[in-house]
Amino acid sequence: MSRVVDIIIDGENYRAEENSLLIDLLIQEGIKVPYFCYHETLGADGNCRMCMVGIEGQKRPQIACDTLVKEGMVVNTKSDTIREVRKNILELELINHPVDCPTCDQAGECSLQDFYMEYGLHNSKITIAQKVKHDKAIDLGANVMLDQERCVLCARCTRFTAEITKTHELGIVGRGDDAKVTTMPGRTLENDYAMNVVDLCPVGALTSKDFRFAQRVWFLESSEGICHGCAKGCNIFIDHNKLKYKDDTIYRFRPRRNDAVNGFFICDAGRLSYKELQEMRQESATLHGREISQEAAKEAFHNLLLLHQNSIAVVIDANLYTEEIESIINFANTIDAKIYAPLDIYKDASFADEMLKSSMRAANYKTIENLGITTSTPQNATLIINCNHPQEFRADATINFFTHRRETQALTLPIAAYTESSGSLTNEDNITQYSKQAVFKNSPLPTISDYLQGLGYE
């Protein structure tokens, strides 16, 4: 451990670890500093030159991403000189930029736009009509589109494929103002984390094919959630929006930083899992494949429970929130049912990797284990109550609580998806996280515990 030292930034006292990066302190303390190339995971590259600060005793402005914190250091981030330097470098970033914000998906979350509002607002002195021309709308593969003209060559995306995924698909080729990001001719972006480059890109050069032209970002509401794609429990932003006369809809998942779990990234499979969340939903109660009224469903539920007394098994999906699992256990105990949560079906070695993807594709299986729930398949029960478990079980009768439609004749009751309810999850590393309800449907579906409460079970 390095020692902690005192430093002064804009006249205020701060304490930081000696020899730590100054830019990290600025970011951590919320002191505004513009930058394109620096990234807390990718580290300093020093190419954009935007994070200039004044250091007392140094003749010239220094980049904060390559400045180490020293005892007694006096830093200035707001002087006229620093503002002027940042403004001038920003102007250079913009000279070969197409300034096509009205048709750019990044508009609203673009560092160039943000820094222009902060440092630019100048009458452009860009008098050269001849901007360097590059290709626009290149399909790189893996749902990523590239616009070379918008690129500021910060090399975040290329460093990501070189240093994080180690797949080396992207690179900056050429040199000088002719340099550009590309894949090798005829080759594509192909890795399970490729779409993170879209988030890493500080401008509109890399955009998601999936999200392209779908929504203006300023219309979106970002809610915090936990991905249910596997047992890793990656933290995400659920970006959704309820348009007039329409229902609350999710447009994308984005990674949300959590250094203890997923760092800055998520896998593409998790990122795109929002789609199936919204497709083929079980929206009303059905029996023999036909829609039935809530009253009829309630009656059928009670009748089945009575008919199969003492021979009931409840099967729990290992993706349900812990609170849900607990209330299902209570219900099962009340009706004297046996409880199961078979885990084998979630195991998928082919999905797993060294980074974030877990071979257990169940967000809360750890809770199942921690609670000591039987993980074998139910035996000798004549009625099975399937609480969204993905497997199909044989019994004389079945009651299903399903988020999504499946081929079944049994009594099936619709329930809320995880984005439509709140609760806790324990990931494979035994870290418990809380996920808040993000989506509020026009006609909200109940959770299983809501349902059970309505039926008179607490």
Partner: protein, 145 residues
């Protein structure tokens, strides 16, 4: 279209490997060997260099695009590199360039060739032709074309 190093070049590579602390250092030497062997650097050759140097193909490709003397496409005509930098310009490089326009060669305007004291200069197939005059250019091209 595939590429493999000639036996002679493989031997050169093996000998060079002993002289560097990492095979990665052989990136430029290998690119040169490829270019002399094939006349240009194909994507297949880049894969072969990647194997020799343990550098990912994309990184080799990036290197090949950084240095102006590497060529990623076949070049058909005689390549004439004419220096257009200051000392040559002051000594009449523009006249030489203009004269070459009418010839059946590919003219490459290159930066300083380090022949400032013997300007103007052009380079063809690694050889410098210095203190150029129109007459001199004529006789050089006559010999080469």
């Amino acid at each position: 279209m595939s590429f493999s190093f000639s036996q002679e070049n493989l031997e050169k590579i093996a000998a060079l490997k002993k002289r560097y602390p990492s095979p990665k250092a052989l990136c430029l030497p290998c690119l040169w060997l490829v270019q002399y062997q094939e006349g240009y650097i194909s994507l297949d050759a880049i894969d072969a260099i990647s194997e020799q140097t343990t550098i990912p193909p994309m990184e080799v490709y990036r290197v090949a695009t950084f240095y102006t003397m590497f060529h990623l496409e076949k070049r058909e005509k005689l390549q004439v590199d004419v220096c257009k930098t200051l000392s040559c310009k002051l000594c009449g490089a523009d006249d030489i360039l203009q004269h070459l326009e009418s010839k059946d060669v590919t003219i490459n305007h290159v930066e300083c060739l380090g022949s400032c004291g013997t300007a103007p200069v052009m380079q063809i197939n690694d050889k410098n032709y210095e203190n150029l005059t129109i007459e001199k250019v004529e006789s050089i091209l006559e010999e080469l074309l």
